[in-house]
Amino acid sequence: MAEIVLDKVTKRYPDGALAVSDVDITIGDGEFIILVGPSGCGKSTTLNMIAGLEDITEGELRIDGKRVNERAPKDRDIAMVFQSYALYPHMSVRENMAFPLRLAHVDNATVTKKVEEAARILDLTQHLDRKPGNLSGGQRQRVAMGRAIVRSPKAFLMDEPLSNLDAKLRVQMRTSVAKLQRRLGTTTVYVTHDQTEAMTLGDRVVVMRGGLVQQVGSPQALYEQPTNLFVAGFIGSPSMNFLPATLADGQLQTPLGPVPLSDRIRRLVEAANAPSEVIVGLRPEHFEDAALLDEGERGRGGRFTATVDVLESMGSDKYAYFTVEGETATSAELDELAAESGSTEMTDDGSQIVTRLSAASGAREGAELEVWFDEDKLLLFDPSDGRNLTYAG
């Protein structure tokens, strides 16, 4: 059990490239913290620095109050689970899990006891004498976990441990990892590029981009109060809709029509000293089929009518896709998010919006639909630097 403190930790490669810059995080004892971000954001480098597999260029790393920058990985008492699992192919499952204990010269009886206990927890008992090559992906993953937990280290580091599993198994293993961490209560740093994993697993989430920490907070806080356009777009699935808008006289001119600002938002925007050209962000679930709402509810939001391009029925909800005529929102952050998700869909004829409607909605593909949205939930961003103009702190 340990508290891990990253104090202005920076990684600069010999060629001058800055991989991680001034990371300041205090990870509490027993906390489950997630580092998330697109590839190349510095999350794995940060993890490797905590592990001791990469040197820290500047700043200090403290575990339980002691500076460990110069300590070799083996002297940090930290276990790590790798994306490829890194199981030793020439050793059986039992030998793999016993390996850290053997290196620590633990006596045989204890080794056997601990390995068997870990195998029981992870449901690997009947596979102990097999080689990793004969195991399924999920079993290998569990062996990797077993090798980490067997010596009761101060902390676990996990580098995308689930990304090599298929979708269904990943969801299952996600739950097991969370349960295991709760049960052991060991400080855990977990790296992923998958925002769903980040949202579901962590006590707190650290969003990184280009070597910089964007925001640290609970999943809910990141979702509701992103500090900037990048976090807003990265967290949430399907992701937030962004539209260009003009701010004038307490009113917002959007491609969906004029939207009056609520008092709460107006105050925040004024305090933030907002420019007149802004980007408005709306999450899919803040839309609804206007026909399903009563008069009172309808009045508390904006409405627009558009043709449904595509309708996806999920059973519990319906996702309706619309094209909104006019300019599209542009900013460096949005470009990066688009590149990350691989969407090259650069529509010339307007912005795509995704809305999540109740299953009861009568929306049909190709037909017009009147859609309502919650004006009080909208977020405004400064296109020049991406900051959230409606951030309440």
Partner: protein
């Protein structure tokens, strides 16, 4: 371009970028160099220096039987060799053996590769047995072929030409040399091609047959193009190897009846003639010929040299 240049010039370079490589990097470089040094030294000592020495020798009159007459003669040795009909005969024989045997090897090797890759029964056995010609000592195989074709006493001679001494006639002797060469090297060719075959995804062949390609079309339109890099590497290896043919000829005919290769000529000049000047000249000429072949393969056909950059990026 100019814009980029300007920007880099204006941007102040951050100090760490200018700083010499870090300690870890330095240690890595040093270790790398130390680890490679012994191998590199041996290779330079046994090939680099001798090549230069050989060029120098080729410019000398230097006959070990008359060591007193050693002197610098410029390109005279080259004129002697290149105006000598024996050299050109040997060169022609070598080129012919190379072209014919490599062509046959490619066809048979491809067939064997397909058999080893696709056979439904006894795959392990076929792969094991096919390795025997590769592994066997060339001289041993050559003796086997010689005794097989010896008049009256060989089983093949009795079978095909009971009344003539084939190894003493030029054309049949050359054919036997090619046979011996082909037998020995088809498995190696096949192994290289099989590695290429493994790179052809099964789905691709299934897709091609869904698209209506016949077996032959699948082979020529899908397999061969995908395997092209492997085929070219195999051809390059074998061509250069065939060009230095020596063992088979030495045992089968000793180069009689104008069946000698350029390697035979060089050996004869050196060991039998003890003429270092002429021998070195031939060495240099063979080296040039091989370099030209390699150059043609790499530049014209775009053969990628194995172990080069793209090999590491995988």
């Amino acid at each position: 371009m100019s814009q980029t240049a300007e920007r880099t010039a204006d941007t102040p370079v951050s100090p760490p970028a200018k700083k010499a490589v870090s300690e870890g990097k330095k240690a890595e470089r040093k270790l790398g160099l130390w680890l490679c040094a012994p191998a590199a030294l041996v290779m330079i000592a046994v090939t680099g220096y001798p090549i230069i020495y050989s060029i120098w020798l080729s410019l000398q009159r230097y006959d070990l039987r008359f060591p007193d007459q050693q002197k610098f003669v410029g390109l005279e040795n080259y004129v002697t060799v290149l105006s000598n009909s024996y050299w050109w005969t040997a060169f022609g024989v070598t080129a012919m053996i190379t072209v014919i045997s490599v062509a046959i090897e490619l066809v048979l090797g491809m067939g064997l590769a397909l058999v080893m890759h696709r056979t439904l029964v006894m795959r392990g056995l076929v792969r094991t047995v096919a390795l025997i010609p590769y592994g066997i000592v060339t001289v041993v195989a050559a003796f086997s072929w010689r005794y097989a074709w010896t008049q009256d006493t060989g089983y093949l001679a009795q079978l095909f030409a009971p009344d003539s001494a084939l190894l003493t006639q030029r054309v049949p002797a050359l054919a036997i040399i090619i046979l011996a060469e082909v037998w020995k090297t088809v498995p190696f060719m096949a192994l290289l091609l099989m590695a290429g075959l493994a790179l052809v995804p099964d789905d691709l062949l299934k897709a091609a047959s869904m698209d209506g390609a016949s077996a032959w079309q699948r082979f020529t339109k899908v397999m061969v193009p995908v395997m092209k890099p492997a085929i070219l590497v195999a051809l390059l290896f074998r061509t250069l190897d065939a060009f230095r043919i020596f063992d088979n000829i030495f045992v089968l005919t000793s180069g009689a009846q104008e069946t000698g290769s350029v390697s035979m000529q060089t050996y004869n000049n050196l060991i039998k003639g003890l003429n270092l000047g002429i021998g070195s000249t031939m060495s240099v000429l063979i080296f040039i010929a091989v370099a030209v072949i390699a150059f043609i393969f790499i530049k014209v056909f775009g053969t990628s040299a194995p172990g080069s950059d793209d090999g590491r990026k995988r």
